[in-house]
């Protein structure tokens, strides 16, 4: 257990995982819908506050897993309940805990039917998501990974839009197809390890043959690429986003998509380093295709949710580009960009939801020229859109800058091909912004009310993080350094061949 710094005293991670589950159980017995709303807000807020000590107590100097908990679970198969966080998972857990109260707030009026069940789904979801990021045992991880599917399926399938059945089933089938491969890879690793273990850190740095590594990598890759989603496994995403209720879209964009990239960092790179290095060029190209495809497709959308969904494909392309740059700038940039995407895209979905609550349409054409009626709203929207297109001074710029710097070091040509993606991001975001704020000379006649206090409270913290990460990212980057350095050691860096001579 030398990889784990055991937690003394209060079991923080377990508390974070089980508090929402407890909250969900209690919700079922609450008398009214309003009580369910307030209770969920309380539970998710307490979880968020409870997660702050994870950051304050985190030791940035070590790459070990901290706040560790370890209990035997099924000794026969050497399955344990092992939890821990390092610099890679820490911020993602915090992102999850902090996003959830706002998702509850965003559902306050939006969800009008079966409120209790909805809140139960939300809190079960939170439990599973935090668990996935904290799990250090493959079986535990896999169970929680699958556990995320069901509440999300219900959220889309019950509270979704007109094509909710299509979208939810597509979401389910895609993700399940990936999960099956994940299970195969997990079992293969178990059998290949000696002694047999499901411990994730123990499986890292195992010296498997290169064929074995490539097969395991591909199994992992399919599971995670679907989740990211990488081109060409992305088609479930726009459908799911468009049909999901606002809170569902926010969870999907902010947290669920990160599961895929987290998987790359946690499993692919350290467990199958040889395969990673061998297959890197292909994945880099796939990332570039995703960036460009997402950008072009977003540019053509008339539905705002679809637009943001396709922009996610592009943004996550940048994240995978950075991860497979396999250097510290690229990976740290990717980690930061995962947080940024969670903040910015989450906020954008909240914004679209706010328009939808007013005019019951996601069509861009029905939301044109509302700048004059909703000045506060468009101010928020403008900042989040600028953040999304990586405007300097906002969070996404820092992430994109680091990713491009890392990727340029790895491969000049591939990265140059990704640059048009940045132009496309500006194009589709500014196009949306122009239409929403100004429109044209024949805007639809409608009167929409500007944001109320609850909505401003929902959006304001996102704006704070947009500028905080944009202008002072050090507190966010500092927790990553040790873990990313350790990760790069594990990959064993077979670096610096492609661009030797051009770049240092």
């Amino acid at each position: 257990m030398d990889f784990l710094v055991m937690n003394e005293g209060f079991p923080l991670l377990s508390a974070l995982i089980f508090l929402p589950l407890f909250g969900a159980l209690v919700t079922m017995f609450l008398p009214s819908e309003q009580a369910a709303r307030l209770w969920s807000l309380l539970i998710t807020s307490i979880t968020a506050i409870l997660s702050i000590p994870l950051y304050t107590g985190f030791n940035v100097a070590t790459a070990q897993y901290q706040f560790g908990e370890h209990h035997a679970w099924i000794p026969l198969w050497n399955i344990n309940y092992t939890l821990g966080v390092d610099g890679i998972s820490l911020l993602l857990i915090l992102l999850t805990t902090f996003i959830m109260p706002f998702c509850v707030l965003a559902s306050w009026r939006y969800i009008a039917t079966r409120v209790k069940s909805f809140m139960v789904c939300m809190m079960v979801m939170e439990c599973a998501m935090i668990g996935v990021f904290a799990a250090l045992d493959f079986v535990l991880f896999y169970i929680l990974w699958e556990a995320m599917l069901i509440p999300m399926y219900l959220i889309i399938g019950i509270w979704g839009g007109p094509r909710k059945v299509y979208a939810s089933i597509k979401f389910f089938i895609y993700t399940l197809a990936g999960s099956v491969m994940l299970l195969v890879a997990i079992i293969a690793l178990y059998l290949a390890s000696a002694p047999h273990t499901f411990s994730i850190p123990a499986l890292m740095g195992g010296h498997y043959s290169s064929t074995f590594q490539i097969l395991v990598f591909l199994a992992f890759f399919l599971a995670f690429a679907i989740k990211v989603p990488m081109f060409p496994f992305h088609t479930w995403l726009p459908a799911a986003h468009v049909e999901a209720p606002t809170a569902g879209s926010v969870i999907l964009a902010s947290v669920l998509l990160k599961m895929g990239t987290y998987g790359f960092l946690r499993f692919c790179l350290p467990i199958t380093p040889l395969a990673t290095v061998t297959l890197t060029p292909y994945i880099l190209w796939l990332s570039v295709v995703g960036i460009l495809y997402g950008g072009f497709t977003a540019l053509a959308q008339k539905d705002m949710k679809k637009l943001i969904a396709y922009s996610s494909v592009g943004h996550m392309g940048f994240v995978t580009l950075g991860i497979f740059a396999l250097n510290s700038a690229g990976i740290e940039g990717s980690l930061l960009q995962m947080i940024n995407h969670g903040v910015t895209t989450g906020a954008l979905f909240l914004c679209v939801g706010m328009i939808y609550e007013r005019n019951h349409s996601r069509e861009l054409a029905n939301a044109t020229g509302i700048g004059k009626q909703m000045p506060i709203f468009v101010t928020f929207l403008a900042f989040f859109s600028l953040s999304s297109l990586a405007f300097p001074g906002t969070n996404s710029f820092v992430g994109e800058f680091l990713i491009l710097a890392g990727a340029f070091k790895r491969n000049l040509i591939i990265t140059a091909c990704a640059v048009p993606g940045a132009i496309l991001a500006a194009a589709y975001m500014l196009r949306m912004l122009q239409k929403v704020i100004w429109g044209g000379i024949d805007n639809p006649k409608q009167t929409l009310l500007d944001l109320n206090v609850r909505e401003i409270v929902t959006l304001a913290p996102f704006l704070l993080f947009v500028f905080w990460i944009g202008l002072g990212p050090e507190p966010f980057l500092s927790v990553m350094h040790s873990s990313v350095a350790h990760l790069l050691e594990q990959v064993g860096t077979v670096q610096a061949s492609a661009v030797a001579g051009l770049l240092p």
């Binding site: 300097p392 820092v398 122009q434 001579g501």
Partner: protein, 496 residues
């Protein structure tokens, strides 16, 4: 003097750029109902900003560099402000002209009963916030940050009329500016960071920031990207946004598209040429003279196009495109005299071109005429406006004793020092072309025939709040033509 090591930490810098930001907020808070108070906010912000910048002059002239760190992003990338002699050329001119423009736009916007004046004034102040940020940038990231702020904040000004023409012009505007910035500037900046580990500007114009063994091919590519990336500099082929932006109200065309925005473009371009690449690197890689010929095309071509325009603002716009390239031409010739000529033109062109646009706006407010052919004999009705126009035209042409002559003198000396007969001929040809498109306007106004049936009845000079700024700007054009030393001392501090 160029390697000035006396760095003074000064919060004045951040106050100077925050004044227009707070000015914009004050303008928004006062709103349409309290128009007088709102305009007062604009004017106070303008005066305050100029005073703060003027108060930096003694320190800068004493050879100090003012410096202020704001945010650290990652090692080597920060938001940091700097005021050196080079910044002061642009900052002084733009901040002073904001005062004139604030008064002028009051007269213009009210004279035409324009809508959304609050938004207009707020965005105007925000654009100045961006422009001053560019002037005081200490590194490429800060420069890029404020450069993009200028792009975004000027969009509402170009789209101001909210008609189809306004939206079309504004779309062209934002597409050109953001696309070039993202396509060229962003990768160039990232690669410069990868190559050098920093984005900070050098402290002198010779060394640049590249380590000596850097791949020459890559540096050349980056250099080209930087020239093309700052499309606000109006260099062809990415100049179309500027004529398109002329749909904006004239005060915008005057201050922003003759002074603040376009000068942000050339200022950024020359800042990067001199302080990122440096004279030594540019000489070693032979980047200067090809650049000079490249922009010569713009100088001549834009002038030829200007000749064909009968709309006064369109003609002025193409004249701006042409004149901006003088600045880059001067710096690109890389001799001390030519760099002097290029840099002083940042100020010279600002004062003269704003006069011309002010005149165009005054004519429009007084007569609602935009076309040159309709202005025959109008000089006798509006003598002050057209006299100012004539003075400023002389400056554009480069005739003594107006500001433009100083530029032309240094540029001609520079082209001879650089032994470039071709460039000398470009300058001469451009002078003739300038005569070709400016002289007829003035001649026609004073000595031309009135258009048939036109009596100019009831037409008189524009309001005083417009005419006075015009006269002040024109007078300054003459003063800096006769006595160029005040601005020249900053320029000479740059070239050493």
């Amino acid at each position: 003097m160029t390697g000035s090591t006396n760095i003074i930490e000064s919060a004045k810098l951040v106050i100077a750029i925050l004044v227009p930001l707070f000015g914009a907020v004050a303008v928004m808070l006062t709103g349409e109902k309290r128009a007088n108070l709102r305009e007062t906010c604009s004017v106070v912000a303008a005066v305050l900003m100029f005073s703060i910048i003027a108060s930096m002059v003694p320190d800068v002239l004493a050879g100090h560099t003012l410096h202020f760190g704001m945010f650290k992003i990652v090692p080597g990338v920060s938001v940091t402000l700097r005021a050196d002699a080079f910044s002061m050329i642009f900052a002084l001119a733009a901040s002073f002209l904001w005062i004139l423009a604030a008064f002028y736009s009051m007269g213009y916007m009210r004279g035409l009963h324009e809508h959304a004046q609050t938004r207009f004034n707020a965005c105007f102040a925000l654009s100045l916030f961006g422009a001053m940020g560019v002037a005081f940038s200490d590194n490429l990231f800060t420069l890029y940050l404020f450069y993009e702020i200028v792009s975004v904040c000027t969009y509402p000004l170009v789209a101001h009329h909210q008609d189809q023409e306004g939206y079309d012009g504004a779309r062209k505007y934002i597409v050109y500016l953001t696309t070039t910035a993202k396509a060229f500037l962003l990768p160039a900046m990232v690669l410069i960071y990868v190559l050098t580990g920093t984005l900070d500007f050098a402290t002198n114009i010779s060394t640049g920031i590249f380590p000596p063994q850097t791949n020459a091919f890559l540096v050349t590519i980056l250099y080209a990207f930087c020239i093309l990336g700052f499309a606000k500099n109006g260099v062809m082929p990415f100049h179309h946004w500027l004529p398109g932006a002329m749909v904006a109200p004239t005060p915008v065309s005057a201050l922003l598209h003759a002074v603040a925005v376009v000068k942000v473009g050339v200022f950024s371009t020359t800042r990067v040429m001199l302080y990122v690449f440096g004279v030594d690197t540019m000489n070693a890689l032979n980047l200067g003279i090809p650049t000079a010929y490249f922009v010569s095309f713009t100088i001549l071509m834009a002038s030829v196009i200007a000749l064909s325009k009968t709309n006064l603002k369109a003609r002025l716009a193409y004249s701006t495109v042409s004149q901006l390239s003088y600045i880059i031409l001067g710096v690109a010739m890389l001799t001390p005299a030519s760099i002097n000529g290029g840099l002083i033109h940042i100020a010279n062109h600002a004062f003269s071109k704003i006069t011309l646009f002010f005149c165009a706006g005054a004519i429009y407010v007084a007569t609602h005429k935009k076309d040159i052919s309709e202005m025959g004999g109008l000089g006798r009705t509006m003598p002050f406006t057209f006299a100012a126009f004539a003075i400023a035209s002389l400056s554009m042409i480069g005739a003594p004793p107006v500001a433009g002559f100083v530029t032309k003198w240094y540029l001609l000396v520079g082209s001879m020092q650089a032994h470039q007969v071709g460039l000398l001929l470009v300058l001469l040809a451009s002078t003739l072309l300038n005569v070709g498109y400016f002289a007829p306007v003035t001649y026609n106004a004073f000595f031309g025939k009135r258009p048939a049936g036109e009596k100019y009845e009831g037409i008189k000079e524009a309001p005083l709040s417009m005419v006075i700024p015009i006269m002040i700007a024109a007078t300054i054009s003459i003063i800096i033509g006769i006595y160029p030393d005040f601005m020249m001392q900053f320029v000479k501090a740059v070239t050493g």
